[in-house]
């Protein structure tokens, strides 16, 4: 079993390393001290199992799972986090509470072995994603958007986004003159953003109100928003109503 350890504290990694050393079938292929390294390592090494700390600089454990995907199995390792604990209980995923015993770790490994031998019995990837979205709900309104590009992670603070455009299964974020694509649904994104700052002005467009320079009429009945960056965003009739209500 190929395993990576992700924790920002050297001593916490040392405990895991020491305990895992007693299991002959476990091969530690990597150790990471922060979320960015973890996403990169999981993408490149494709380990079977990752021990993930939750509180880490830049990217927390849930964000790592969101970005790295559910192909790898995860065991969360945390000191104390009542929100996370509730989420764990609901979705019956394995987690270790620091400090943990040798026996408890062996139990978690046995779980992982069973899951690897017989893929996807019971709660698998779905439960993991549900756990992640529950964890994300605590971060609302969204403060930053995380986008994975191969092994790299881009962090876009939401106040830098000009507008967001739906493109098939993707959403395109336009910020600082660049465009990033992310596999996400428009409605889900809309519900995560701060409604005071972002407005869905069109079926396919969400605009940052702070980025609007002015509203211009187009055609006979339509409107569009001219942004400070020079971009034009179409506004639907119901969208125009919302803009007027909000700006009044």
């Amino acid at each position: 079993m190929r395993v990576i350890i992700v924790d920002d504290e050297p001593l916490a990694r040392a405990v895991l390393r020491e305990h895992l050393g007693a299991h002959a079938d476990v091969d530690i292929v990597g150790e990471c001290a922060n979320g960015f390294e973890a996403v990169k390592a999981i993408a490149e090494l494709a380990p079977d199992l990752a021990f993930l700390d939750i509180q880490m600089p830049r990217l927390d454990g849930f964000e790592v799972v969101e970005l790295a995907g559910a192909k790898t199995h995860y065991v969360f390792v945390t000191a104390y986090d009542q929100f996370a604990l509730r989420a764990f209980d609901v979705h019956a995923l394995d987690y270790l509470l620091k400090p943990f015993s040798r026996e408890r770790l062996a139990q978690a490994l046995a779980h992982a072995r069973a899951r690897l031998a017989a893929p996807a019995p019971g709660p698998g990837a779905e439960a993991m994603l549900a756990l992640v979205s529950e964890a994300q709900a605590r971060h609302q309104p969204l403060e930053r958007v995380l986008i994975r590009d191969g092994a790299r992670v881009h962090v876009i603070p939401v106040d830098r986004i000009d507008y967001i455009e739906a493109q098939d299964d993707y959403v395109a974020f336009h910020a600082d003159g660049r465009t990033w694509l992310k596999n996400q649904r428009m409605a889900e994104l809309e519900s995560q953003l701060d409604p005071q700052a972002f407005l869905r002005v069109h079926r396919s467009y969400i605009v940052n109100l702070g980025a609007i320079a002015r509203i211009e009429p187009t055609g006979k009945d339509g409107h569009c928003a001219l942004l400070k960056s020079g971009a034009r965003v179409p506004i639907s009739r119901s969208g125009y109503q919302k803009v007027r209500d909000l700006l009044r």
């Binding site: 040392a14 020491e18 104390y80 620091k98 400090p99």
Partner: protein, 367 residues
């Protein structure tokens, strides 16, 4: 016992006053023509009996008609009725006493109680009853004020105690569990280090448990607590956490509410250094400028903003607002707390009235 009979001293004073009244009554009777001996024999026992009657009954009447909850007319009627009854009884008693004395000692006693004397006794009885009621109202009122005062003091003490307990509980549970995890790692890697860490943890908690509500501590002592805390966190964070303290000796002797600095340093580590990939510095600075003590806690923050403004606004906000409130409770508007993100650093500045331990209250430097 209640009212004027609540204590021996009050009861004695009360009876003495009535003895005087009895003598006065006797004097009035003597002046109007009766003999001195007969007047005294008649008036003094009657006065003392009436003293007891009014002393007991007026207290209950006053309790039954509290001044602040009954209308004035009801109170007047409530006092007036028993006053009239008791005074009438007194007159009857006076007449009976007069006859008894005349029957027992027909030679020595010349009857003093005539109808006009009894009538004026009735009037006097009503007035005296009213006076006794007033005295009772006064004593009830002062008792109530005293009770309120002790209640207020008790509440204040309880509030201070609760605040401190809350502050102790506010020490992040993460801190304890993560520290235990570090000790668990050190036991095999570095047993001596593990032992040191348990000592540091014990010192830290012993120190917080030793704090007493309402007792100020010196900045030097608070800094000791902070150093224990930082030493523990440095085991966890390793080289990522650097700590500096620049405390002016005059400032170190100044007093401040306990657990004021520790939450600030805890915040700096958790939301500042804890969110950084690179090593960061937490710096505490304190100077005394005349009558003002200035304390400054600053920490590096992640330049990419993950633990930046937004993170600080959410996570740190509560702790900082708490510190500001505690300063306001201790020093009113003489103290202030400000915080801002400046040049990639998060800075908290406190200003409070400087008072050294030996200047004002040498005894307040709590253990």
């Amino acid at each position: 016992m209640h009212g004027v009979f609540a204590s021996w001293r009050a009861a004695l004073l009360y009876l003495l006053a009535w003895l005087m009244l009895g003598l006065l009554l006797a004097a009035m009777l003597a002046v109007s023509g009766a003999g001195w001996g007969a007047s005294l024999l008649f008036a003094v026992p009657l006065a003392l009996v009436y003293a007891n009657a009014t002393g007991f009954s007026a207290y209950y009447v006053c309790r039954a008609y509290p001044l602040d909850r009954r209308r004035p007319l009801a109170v007047a009627a409530g006092i007036g009725m028993p006053a009239a009854c008791v005074a009438a009884l007194w007159c009857a008693l006076g007449a009976a006493w007069n006859s008894l004395l005349a029957a027992l000692a027909p030679d020595a006693y010349v009857p003093v109680a005539s109808n006009p004397v009894l009538a004026s006794m009735f009037g006097l009885g009503v007035i005296l009853y009213g006076l006794a009621a007033a005295v009772n109202y006064l004593s009830i009122e002062s008792e109530r004020v005293r009770q309120l005062e002790t209640q207020r003091l008790q509440m204040k003490l309880m509030a201070q105690d609760a605040e401190l307990r809350m502050l102790r509980a506010q020490v992040d549970p993460h801190f304890l569990f993560n520290s235990l995890n570090s000790i668990s790692a050190l036991t095999s890697l570095d047993p001596a280090g593990a032992r040191d860490m348990t000592v540091q943890l014990a010192e830290f908690f012993r120190h917080t448990l030793g704090l007493r509500a309402g007792h100020m501590v010196t900045l030097a002592r608070e800094l000791q607590l902070v150093r224990h805390f930082v030493a523990i966190e440095q085991v966890r964070f390793g080289a990522r956490l650097r700590f500096e303290a620049a405390i002016d000796p005059a400032a170190a002797a100044c007093l401040l509410p306990p657990m004021l600095l520790q939450p600030l340093v805890e915040n700096a580590i958790k939301h500042g250094i804890g969110q950084m990939v690179e090593p960061g510095l937490v710096r505490v600075e304190a100077v005394r400028a005349g009558s003002i003590l200035r304390i400054r806690v600053e920490n590096d923050v992640d330049p990419d903003g993950a633990g930046g403004v937004a993170g600080n606004a959410r996570g740190t906000g509560l702790g900082l607002v708490n510190v500001r409130q505690r300063l306001a409770t201790a020093h009113g508007h003489e103290a202030s707390a400000h915080w801002a993100r400046r040049d990639g650093r998060f800075v908290v500045e406190l200003a409070l009235p400087a008072r050294a331990a030996d200047e004002a209250h040498p005894a307040t430097e709590g253990a």
